[in-house]
C-alpha cells in the first residue's frame, strides 16, 4: 500500500509540474465552454426536461468524444514510456516494489488528476441552472451518475493509456497508439454491428454483444440518464483490470528476454 501511495503522490506532483497537464486543462475548459454555449442556445426560449438538462452538459455534448479520444492518452503517455526512455524504470524496478503496485499507483494518480480536472466543471452547471441564467431544474442524481460514468469510462481509457505507454519508449507513439485504440472503441460498435447482422442475422446475441461492448453508449444511455447498471460498472472496472493486468505483463516482459 505504501508503494502505491508513494507512486500516486509522486505522479501527482509530476502532473502538476507538467505543462502538458495545464494545456489539457485549458483545452478541456474551452470545450466545456463550447458545451455551455450550445446548452444556452439549446435551452433559450424552450424549457428542457430536467434529465436532458442535467446530463447534457456532462456527457451528451459532442466535445465528450474529443475529450475521451485525446485527453487520457496525453495524460498517461509519459507513465512508462518516459521511464523507459530516460532509464529511470531501472531505478524504479530495482527498489523493493512489485510491478503491479507501480502500475496501479500510476493509474490511480492519472484517475485522481482526471477527477481534479473535471471538478471545476461542476459549479458551472449549478450556476447555469440558477434563475438569473437558464432557470432549469437540476436532478442531482443524474448529474452524479453522469459524473460517475464519466469517471469510470475515463479510468478505463486511462488504463488503456497506461498500457500503451508500457509498450514503447516513445512518448508520442504511446499517445498515438492509445488514441487509435480509443477511436476504434468508439467506432467499433457501429462498424461491427452491420457485419454481425449480415453474418448471423439480427439475433438477440448480436444485439446484446454490440450493446454491451459500446463503451460510449453505456455512458450516454445509462449513466447519462441516471441509471447505474452494475453490468456497465463491471464492464468499465473489468476494462480497467484487463488493461492494468496487460500493463503488468508488458513490464514483466523485460524478464523474458
Amino acid at each position: 500500500m505504501g508503494v502505491i501511495l508513494a507512486t500516486v503522490k509522486k505522479e501527482l506532483i509530476s502532473y502538476l509540474f507538467s505543462p502538458v497537464a495545464y494545456v489539457i486543462a485549458v483545452v478541456l475548459y474551452f470545450a466545456r465552454g463550447v458545451e455551455v454555449y450550445n446548452l444556452v442556445l439549446f435551452a433559450a426560449g424552450s424549457h428542457l426536461d430536467t434529465t436532458t438538462f442535467s446530463s447534457y452538459y456532462v456527457v451528451q455534448g459532442n466535445t465528450a468524444y474529443f475529450f475521451f479520444v485525446l485527453v487520457p492518452p496525453i495524460l498517461t503517455m509519459r507513465c512508462f514510456a518516459e521511464e523507459k526512455r530516460t532509464g529511470s524504470l531501472e531505478v524504479l524496478m530495482t527498489a523493493p516494489v512489485r510491478d503491479m503496485e507501480v502500475v496501479v499507483g500510476k493509474w490511480i494518480a492519472a484517475c485522481v488528476f482526471l477527477a481534479l480536472l473535471w471538478l471545476p466543471t461542476l459549479p458551472i452547471l449549478t450556476m447555469l441552472s440558477s434563475d438569473w441564467m437558464l432557470g432549469q431544474t437540476i436532478t442531482y442524481g443524474i448529474v452524479a451518475s453522469s459524473y460517475l460514468g464519466l469517471f469510470l469510462l475515463g479510468s478505463m481509457l486511462l488504463a488503456v493509456g497506461v498500457f500503451t505507454s508500457s509498450l514503447t519508449d516513445n512518448v508520442l507513439l504511446a499517445a498515438i497508439i492509445a488514441m487509435i485504440f480509443n477511436v476504434m472503441m468508439i467506432m467499433a460498435p457501429g462498424f461491427i454491428h452491420p457485419r454481425l447482422v449480415d453474418w448471423f442475422g439480427e439475433t438477440y446475441l448480436v444485439t446484446a454483444f454490440v450493446e454491451q461492448t459500446s463503451v460510449f453508449d453505456h455512458l450516454r444511455h445509462w449513466f447519462g440518464r441516471g441509471m447505474i447498471d452494475s453490468s456497465k460498472v463491471m464492464f468499465y472496472l473489468g476494462g480497467c483490470g484487463l488493461f492494468l493486468f496487460l500493463t503488468v505483463r508488458s513490464l514483466e516482459s523485460r524478464k523474458w528476454q
Binding site: L5, A6, K10, S14, F17, T94, A95, P96, R254
Partner: protein
C-alpha cells in the same frame, strides 16, 4: 554477502554473461572492471533483480535473487549508470519518495533523508529540482537514494562516469567513507579509481571473469613485470652477467651513463628474480646503483587482459542490448 555461481545471461543469440562465479564477503569493496560491453551492467542488473539470468545462481545478503527479489532489493542500495532520476521533483521530495518506496517507516523518513543528504553533501541543493542540479550533484543524489534505506550492500554502476576530475574525487572520497560500514560492488572502466578505492578487483571481459583478486596480488602475479638493473658494467658485461636468470627474458639496454649501464628484462609471472640478479652482480664485483622490479600499472594489466581490437566495434551493441 554476494554469491554468484555459473551465472549466464543470454539476449537472443548474444551471450552477455557466460558462466561467471565469484563471492564477495562482508565489508569488501570490490571493483568490477571491464571494457564496454563486457557484461558488467548485465551482471549488476541480475544482482539487483532487474532481470533474471538465463541460468546459474546468485544470492545477495543471503537471499536468492530469483526466488526472493523483494528481500534482495531491501538489502541493496543501487546506483544506476547515468543516474536517471526524476527531473521534475525537488531533491528532498525525490529522496522522500524513494524512502517511502523503500519502506522507510514514516517516523524515521525525515531523519533518514536528512542524514543521507548531509552524508552525500546535497543539503545545499535540497530545494532545487533534480533536473536543475549539476551532474556531480545528481550523482550524489543517486548515492543518497541508494543509501536512504540503510542497506548493507551497495552496488554502484559506473559511479563516476561523466564527471569532471573534482567531482570524481568527491565521489571517490564518498565511496571510501561508505566502505567503512558497507559491502560495495562498483563497476568502472576507470582503473585509477578502482585501484584507489577497492580492496579487490574482478575483471570481466566478453562475459567471462578474466581475473579476480587484490590489485597488488594480481599485478605481482601478472605478466608484464620488468626487472630494471643499473650497475657499473659495460653493456656486454652486463648482458653476460644477467643472461639466464630464472624467469627473465627480452633484455633491453636503456642507457649507459658514466660507466653505469641500465638494462631492463621482462619477468615471467610468479617469479622474483631480484635475489639472483643481486648475487650475480655482487659476484662480478659490480657497483649496483639500481635494482628494482616494476609492476605493470593496473591499466597495462587491464589492457593485457581485455585487449580485443577485432571485437571492439561489437562491444557497445552487447551493452546496449543488455
Amino acid at each position: 554477502m554476494i554469491t554468484v555461481q555459473d551465472l549466464t545471461k543470454h539476449f537472443g543469440q548474444t551471450r552477455a554473461v557466460d558462466g561467471i562465479s565469484f563471492e564477495i564477503d562482508t565489508g569488501e569493496v570490490v571493483g568490477f572492471l571491464g571494457p564496454n560491453g563486457a557484461g558488467k551492467t548485465t551482471t549488476i542488473r541480475v544482482l539487483t533483480c532487474f532481470h533474471p539470468a538465463t541460468s546459474g545462481r546468485a544470492e545477495v545478503a543471503g537471499f536468492d535473487v530469483f526466488k526472493r527479489p523483494d528481500d534482495v532489493r531491501r538489502n541493496v542500495g543501487y546506483l544506476c549508470e547515468n543516474v536517471p532520476l526524476y527531473p521534475d521533483l525537488r531533491v528532498e521530495e525525490f529522496l522522500h519518495y524513494r524512502a517511502m518506496l523503500k519502506g522507510v517507516p514514516r517516523g524515521q523518513r525525515k531523519s533518514a533523508v536528512g542524514a543521507v543528504m548531509e552524508r552525500c553533501g546535497v543539503l545545499e541543493v535540497r530545494r532545487k529540482l533534480v533536473g536543475h542540479v549539476s551532474r556531480g550533484y545528481r550523482q550524489r543524489v543517486g548515492l543518497a537514494d541508494a543509501l536512504v534505506a540503510s542497506p548493507s550492500i551497495l552496488i554502484l554502476d559506473e559511479p563516476t562516469s561523466g564527471l569532471d576530475p573534482n567531482q570524481r574525487r568527491r565521489v571517490k572520497e564518498l565511496v571510501r567513507e561508505l566502505a567503512i560500514d558497507h559491502t560495495i560492488l562498483f563497476s568502472s572502466h576507470i582503473l585509477a579509481e578502482v585501484e584507489d578505492v577497492s580492496t579487490r578487483v574482478i575483471v570481466i571481459d566478453e562475459g567471462k571473469i578474466q581475473a579476480d583478486g587484490q590489485p597488488k596480488d594480481l599485478l605481482e602475479r601478472s605478466e608484464g613485470r620488468r626487472l630494471t638493473v643499473s650497475a657499473a658494467l659495460s653493456p656486454s658485461e652486463m648482458a653476460g652477467c644477467l643472461r639466464g636468470i630464472t624467469g627473465t627474458r627480452d633484455p633491453v639496454f636503456d642507457s649507459e651513463d658514466a660507466g653505469f649501464s641500465t638494462v631492463s628484462l621482462a619477468v615471467d609471472a610468479g617469479v622474483d628474480p631480484r635475489d639472483e640478479a643481486f648475487d650475480r652482480l655482487t659476484k662480478a664485483s659490480a657497483r649496483i646503483r639500481e635494482l628494482r622490479l616494476d609492476l605493470p600499472s593496473l591499466e597495462e594489466f587491464f589492457t593485457d587482459l581485455t585487449c580485443r581490437e577485432s571485437t571492439d566495434d561489437s562491444a557497445p551493441d552487447r551493452e546496449t542490448e543488455a
